[in-house]
Symmetry: D2
Subunit: 346 residues, 4 copies
Amino acid sequence: MIKAAIIGATGYAGQALLRILTEHPEVDVIHVGSRSYDGKRIDRVYPLYRDILDETCRNLSVSALAESADVIFLALPHGIASAQVDEAVLDKTVIIDLGADYRLHDVNIYEKWYQVKHESPDLLSTAVYGLPELHRTEITETNLIANPGCYTTCSILTLAPLVKAGLIDTDSVVIDAKSGVTGAGRGETLANHYCEVNENIKAYKIASHRHTPEIEQELSLLGETDMTLLFTPHLVPMNRGILSCCYAKASVDLTTEKLADIYRDFYEGEPFVRFVGNVSPETRWVKGTNFVDIGVNVDSRTGRVIAMGAIDNLYKGAAGQAVQNMNIRFGLDERTGLNSVADFPV
Amino acid sequence: MIKAAIIGATGYAGQALLRILTEHPEVDVIHVGSRSYDGKRIDRVYPLYRDILDETCRNLSVSALAESADVIFLALPHGIASAQVDEAVLDKTVIIDLGADYRLHDVNIYEKWYQVKHESPDLLSTAVYGLPELHRTEITETNLIANPGCYTTCSILTLAPLVKAGLIDTDSVVIDAKSGVTGAGRGETLANHYCEVNENIKAYKIASHRHTPEIEQELSLLGETDMTLLFTPHLVPMNRGILSCCYAKASVDLTTEKLADIYRDFYEGEPFVRFVGNVSPETRWVKGTNFVDIGVNVDSRTGRVIAMGAIDNLYKGAAGQAVQNMNIRFGLDERTGLNSVADFPV
Amino acid sequence: MIKAAIIGATGYAGQALLRILTEHPEVDVIHVGSRSYDGKRIDRVYPLYRDILDETCRNLSVSALAESADVIFLALPHGIASAQVDEAVLDKTVIIDLGADYRLHDVNIYEKWYQVKHESPDLLSTAVYGLPELHRTEITETNLIANPGCYTTCSILTLAPLVKAGLIDTDSVVIDAKSGVTGAGRGETLANHYCEVNENIKAYKIASHRHTPEIEQELSLLGETDMTLLFTPHLVPMNRGILSCCYAKASVDLTTEKLADIYRDFYEGEPFVRFVGNVSPETRWVKGTNFVDIGVNVDSRTGRVIAMGAIDNLYKGAAGQAVQNMNIRFGLDERTGLNSVADFPV
Amino acid sequence: MIKAAIIGATGYAGQALLRILTEHPEVDVIHVGSRSYDGKRIDRVYPLYRDILDETCRNLSVSALAESADVIFLALPHGIASAQVDEAVLDKTVIIDLGADYRLHDVNIYEKWYQVKHESPDLLSTAVYGLPELHRTEITETNLIANPGCYTTCSILTLAPLVKAGLIDTDSVVIDAKSGVTGAGRGETLANHYCEVNENIKAYKIASHRHTPEIEQELSLLGETDMTLLFTPHLVPMNRGILSCCYAKASVDLTTEKLADIYRDFYEGEPFVRFVGNVSPETRWVKGTNFVDIGVNVDSRTGRVIAMGAIDNLYKGAAGQAVQNMNIRFGLDERTGLNSVADFPV
């Protein structure tokens, strides 16, 4: 059994992770970490665990946990992980960081977008960007996995085949993304108040969301060219799910059918990518699962490609992908603990 | 492997059943039945099954399926099952009926409340009311299991310890229940339209809902006295879940603590009943699970007991309980295929 | 023009009041009071006022405002008003308090349920309970109007004709009420977080909600007998609206039709009470209006009456009723500024 | 008083229109038209009208109503109006068509996108596109006003200043729009079922929505150049509101500040356009009002403009704008009956 520790287990992503690991046949959760709920039973924080999980939240450090844990998941606000992970920790255990600290290879870009000093920039070259569809092999060989952001996972996977095949003008990409409210975390803010979110839609962080450089980094690497793109997130009155609608100018002659074949080929054999054709994917069909559903269209009138992807932000966008990364790193079948079927309508 | 057939697999309850059975380790689904979608792939009806279930809906009869199926689940509107099930069928297979046709022992009560003629009243004495917490042994011995209604499951289990112990005036019971919209089915009606349900609450079928006689029958048997009670259902703008708030006049001196002990004793060892104390259960903590969460209070000011239960109407209120009944009937561990942990917030 | 000041104008009830007064033809709002947003433009706090209301929030005291305001509305947490209102203030202006401080006649009951010392108990005999349907004349003659709570308004008006006519066992009343989330206020708490409220239903403050003694006081006065009743509030995932479902044992022979006549007679001529017959009122039909919609049923099987009322908690349950009280107090047509038609589906 | 008739008064747009006209000080509604509810009281169809509007739905023809009505509003599915309006009707009355039949100047484009024969193409040159901000003068002079679509109103007004001033590459425009469910009408379809819409987001009619040519027509006229653009609508789980996020490549050097000035100048004096700066407009702040709120940003990294607009689809997107057009046509103050303040949170 893999001994797993979670630091930050009571936020929405941490809790989703705890739930998946609780049901994972090869994992033993040895630490349910929480600073705010230190000493409180997890079934009092989340009554769904009543009669299921007999654990109490504790607040141990990364270095202390490294002594006994095979893997430590960090589900923390950015800027905290980079001060707690070091070479000594990585010699003893595997770190899967659900936060942003080790995602960007360039420390300057990190510090510019996050407005915080990075405390362990030397580890950036060690870290692997944990998007299995693009970096599966590297994931098997690192002790520091930077789990991608939710918007980024969805957007990168939706655009990857287009970029890889060089089918679009790389300076023409616009991503219009929509997220459910769990993406904003469990913070007690006016912005998260039921009545402020319900029956409303808005964009936010226009042309300034921190997931932008992450998307650019990965697509640039994939396309072997510098990409700058526009990313606009929206808040949708629902709990879960992200839909990314990606627009780009076709640089070659394309049809929807041709493009569909390219996507099918690109994702051939991928256990968590489903190609749905020329219709819109919908967040409801991936909810509670690790799938990304992708659909594409070519609009001959405007010469544009519309590629759309849908994920569950807490699964493929956070906890599910983290477990997928753990499975890969520990040599398990990638789908272990992740083969849930969407529960509809839930 | 148990060969299972579902008739009516594309309604919300039938689909929930299909999903549970798909993941059930001891079951092989041999028939995904649908009249409306006959000939259509199930992953076109519910795209959540894409790459998961390679089946096409068909429209076979109960008698045809009885030749090969070990168990047939019926998820049909009332009045249909009673015309299709007969002794010949029951000689060959187990029927688990999610509809109302075999729940009431008295055909006159059935015909009065449902306003339809019962086509096989002679089978009513064969049928067992499939509420495992009250009828576990009988369930192991019958080939005709009448799976209880959603409101009834929740209300009966919430009140059972009170009635059994004779702690309340049996003519004082009022049940005020609230349900999510899946309880109303998948019909294309104005009443189910998003904008007619959203941002609204209403009661319906006041003093006339068909689950009333079902609750009365079971509680009367349990309390060994004729009970007549008032049941009021409400429609809540959410997908899933039922909360039953049950009020009764205490007939003996009671405290919340004493009552809590009585509930804990009554449900000792039950795998799907969780007693939550003197707080309100909440539908979110049981969503996607087969649990019923129950809480109780005694109000000394008014001499009344408030007992509250919460279930997922598609799980413990329909498909989950149907699988629980199957597990019992076929000698499996009752929890097989039903040990999901609630996914929150979903 | 009536010069009106609002203290606490940026909570949900205060804001609803500001909006109604902004459109009221006989009112000039001279003070938009807020401690938290002191110095901030109201159209920055609530962008709906952009290009409509050119006002800045300020934080003046009751005594300062009494010099210039004809009426001061207090929309404050309980315990604050009682320390700010005194005889000197009441000599100069009319106070309409949307909080709880002056609603209960008995200071002991207030201090027991609210767990706070009342700072001006001598004013309790001056205060009039501002439910126009029961106290219209007294409202015209007082300078201290205690605007009723939301649950109480709905519950009292739903039960009043039954109690007045002596048709029920007064110790048999159970009120099961459901409220939208604005009823919980605009506080930044986990309990108000979108994902904690959405897709869930729960009861809360079981047998202990502070609106209970308020309902009992008014119904006891009306029925000329001491009434003790059970009140259970629920939180429903929607923004606005309260539905009260009231149960009581009939003490005389009743039919639904007879009861309907009694209700129609009782509320004859009332501008804001609509009797809807034997169906459930629905919150959507009163949203954004000052109406209470009431329906009744007699269940002959159990000898029980079911009376149901629906209001908009921010209108008839708070701001609308406050304006109705102001209209009465200042000799205006009661409906002035309150004749909006529900906007559906909103 | 203007005598107004509504044909199609029981759909969501028709009902919104009826509500606004009921409160309009210069209008007398002489006909509440409905084919489906012919003979039924409107307060039975929409109980919000109880004690407010004492009218019965009838099913009179355009030509019959033309004899007595000063203005006839048509809120019908496309293809119906074009068969009922003719010169004789237009000689007697003013037609304000909320449907699509008279919006497009080119009958071929209409027939291609709507796949139906136009029955009165000769009237297309008479019809005025009823977007007051662009065609106010022409509206005063016509008897056939084609009220714009909801998406189109929002998208055109959001982009108009950019196009008029020639600041963008006209072939670079991408509109990503999001709508509440009332936009899909009141039809009893599976797609409108609460549980199919709730907790989900999807795009639909990708690169093929019928509002596309309407947007192109108006922006082409305004920019004096042929524009072809990409329009993608999305369905959001909420009742009301549209948010259009419009992207375009800047063709000149721009800053957010400069662009803000251009927008402010362009809409100077417009009663229903509010410029909100560089933040996202939000549908909640315009709900129940005729406002369009617009915000803009220039992203210097990508050289792109992001212009966002928000409307209430039933107000500025349908009924409100229809009344605005009526006001203009009949010489009233444009704001008459349309000065409601958003009710929040509703």
